[in-house]
């Protein structure tokens, strides 16, 4: 257990300490105005001082991200399954799924407020819109890459469509689905914060307020909280992946 722990945590911790120290000394030595680039220690101070604002905001953003991401997983998977049923369906609808990838969320964010009203629903919608495409694209790639020999085998034994989906295609596609989720998790955080810029609440509003009040240190502190949320989600997907796949897929069983 111990060597594994060292292997996992020491390299990123070392990177963190080195870059933080370099930034701290670099910014101090260069005499950069705190308005332009705050030192890591100033950011840490702002984070502590404004914890009563930052933590509830983080909880609010996390809630919107969780709901948006859950919707992305559910609807994204359903869409991918539907698209994988036939080449014709895929050709007819996949180009429109790509719409979600290229939609400029910043541009349509104000419309979300008009459609969904101010508050959580607009924020969830923004998180969903930016995070659903990676789920669709990766799941679909997985569903379509099922080994033809195995597909033939299922057909030979007269397996029903549902059995083929449940016992072959979905398990086969699981690593791809999880890759899609890793990408979607980070994007959902970005989507939620852009949604909050227009819909209100959460870290998005903290960022806007801090910018207005020229608290660059607080802007960075809020951004770090958002990053932490993204990392936590990434870790959650990885943990899920590990538990779901450790018995089957080589990438999870290797030490």
């Amino acid at each position: 257990m111990k060597p594994r722990f060292v292997e996992t945590f020491v390299p990123p911790a070392a990177t963190f300490l080195l870059t933080t120290a370099a930034a701290e000394f670099g910014i101090r030595a260069a005499g950069v105005s705190p308005l332009l680039l705050p030192t890591p220690s100033a950011v840490a101070r702002a984070a502590l001082q404004h914890a009563p604002t930052l933590l509830p905001a983080l909880a609010m953003t996390a809630q919107a991200v969780a709901i948006g991401l859950a919707l992305s997983i559910a609807l994204g998977l359903l869409v991918a399954i539907a698209l994988s049923t036939s080449r014709w369906v895929e050709r007819a609808f996949y180009p429109y799924a790509i719409f979600f990838q290229i939609v400029p969320i910043v541009a349509i964010a104000p419309l979300l407020v008009i459609w969904f009203g101010y508050g959580m629903r607009a924020v969830v919608a923004a998180a969903f819109i930016v995070s659903v495409f990676p789920v669709i694209a990766n799941s679909l790639a997985g569903l379509l890459s099922v080994d033809p020999a195995l597909r033939d085998l299922f057909r030979l034994y007269g397996a029903s469509g549902f059995a083929r989906l449940w016992k072959l295609s979905l398990p086969w596609a699981l690593p791809n689905v999880l890759t899609g989720l890793r990408i979607a998790a980070g994007l959902a955080v970005i989507g939620a914060i852009v949604g909050e810029f227009v819909g209100g609440g959460g870290l998005g509003v903290v960022v806007l307020e801090a910018m207005r009040q020229q608290r660059t240190d607080l802007v960075f502190a809020a951004v770090l909280h958002a990053a932490a949320l993204g990392l936590a989600l990434f870790a959650a997907v990885n943990a899920t992946s590990h538990f779901a796949l450790r018995r089957w897929h080589t990438q999870e069983t290797e030490p």
């Binding site: 670099g26 101010y118 819909g199 806007l208």
Partner: protein, 336 residues
């Protein structure tokens, strides 16, 4: 450790990259200075609030003083940071931003205050029959304002806002048009005119009514530049004042010029906006002391108010916040 020197350079490069994006001029301050050029970062699209600048450009008020002025920036440009970093010589900001910047350790000073009365207000539907800001807040409903603006904090301190649902303003009047109980922040020269054209019957209460009245569309520069280049600064402000005099007398040509740069605003809105802002720019004080002039009392009041709101640590010395160019009576002391 060479790592440290490298990181110092990396920081400088990263910052330059960060700040160069909105500055889009391509030239740096040193190159501009030798060519007699200066850059001014706007904080919004060309609209009547910048009328005097464009009129000064149009009538060569800068050129005949040997100044080539490049207008840059736009909505969302980090103007105070651009000025502080020396990316541009001048910028447009609000007076409260000057005080905040000084509190955060940046040596920013105001040299010209376009609006004596702050042109921002709260717009409501006239059908609600409200008569004051106090009425608006007592009536409840949604209030759309940019998060973090100082006047919201001021409202929270001096009125009861518990009945209001405060949401971010997204620079679109569509939510206002669709919601009869929505109140939103406006620039009197823009949104109310647009709302009226869309068939709404808007009514505006200026935020100044609350007693919070920072100068707006203030031209800023750094204290160091103001001290080092008094003659050039005096020329710059003189040209600006000449431009504003011209725009206040007849905004037609400058409006046409701005209309070409900002196609979203039509000629009629430009005309109405210019008329609406006239009394806010040229009040009794400006008539006596000149357009753009500032007073020590106003800066003192603003500093005190921002301190009371907890937005700054200690109120700055009012004389450090601005430079009255005519007399250069208050060259600011170096910061720290």
């Amino acid at each position: 450790m060479s790592r440290l020197a490298a990181s110092k350079r990396a920081v400088a490069i990263g910052m330059a990259a960060l700040l160069a994006i909105p500055a889009c001029g391509g030239e740096d301050a040193a190159t501009r200075a030798t060519a007699g050029k200066v850059a001014l970062a706007l904080n919004w699209k060309p609209e009547p609030e910048f009328g005097g600048l464009y009129e000064a450009q149009r009538m060569d008020a800068f050129a005949k003083r040997g100044i080539t002025l490049e207008l840059t920036g736009g909505p969302g440009a980090p103007v105070v940071q651009m000025v502080e970093a020396g990316k541009v010589e001048f910028g447009i900001a609000a007076a409260d931003e000057v005080v905040l910047a000084r509190d955060r350790g940046a040596d920013i000073v105001a040299v010209f205050a376009t609006y004596q009365t702050n042109p921002q207000g709260i717009m409501v539907h006239a059908a609600r029959g409200l008569h004051s800001l106090a009425d608006v807040f007592a009536a409840g409903g949604t209030l759309a304002v940019e998060p973090g603006v100082a006047y919201t904090k001021f409202f929270e301190k001096h009125y009861d806002l518990t009945k209001m649902k405060i949401v971010p303003y997204g620079y679109s009047i569509a939510p206002f048009l669709g919601d009869p109980t929505l109140a939103q922040q406006v620039f009197v020269t823009a949104e109310p005119i647009a709302a009226r054209r869309q068939g709404a019957d808007p009514q505006v209460f200026l935020i100044a009514e609350s007693g919070f009245n920072p100068y707006a569309a203030v031209v800023i520069t750094t204290g160091a530049r103001a001290r080092a280049e008094t003659k050039r600064l005096a020329d710059f402000v003189a040209a600006l004042r000449e431009g504003w005099r011209g725009y206040l007398d007849d905004p037609t040509l400058a409006n046409a010029l701005m209309g070409q740069l900002n196609k979203e605003m039509d000629a009629d809105t430009f005309r109405l906006g210019a008329a609406a802002q006239q009394p806010l720019i040229e009040d009794a004080f400006a008539k006596q002391s000149g357009v753009g002039a500032m007073s020590l009392e106003r800066w003192a009041t603003l500093g005190r108010q921002l301190q009371e709101l907890g937005l700054i640590g200690a109120a700055p010395a009012p004389r450090d916040c601005f430079v009255q160019v005519e007399t250069l009576q208050s060259p600011p002391e170096p910061l720290r």
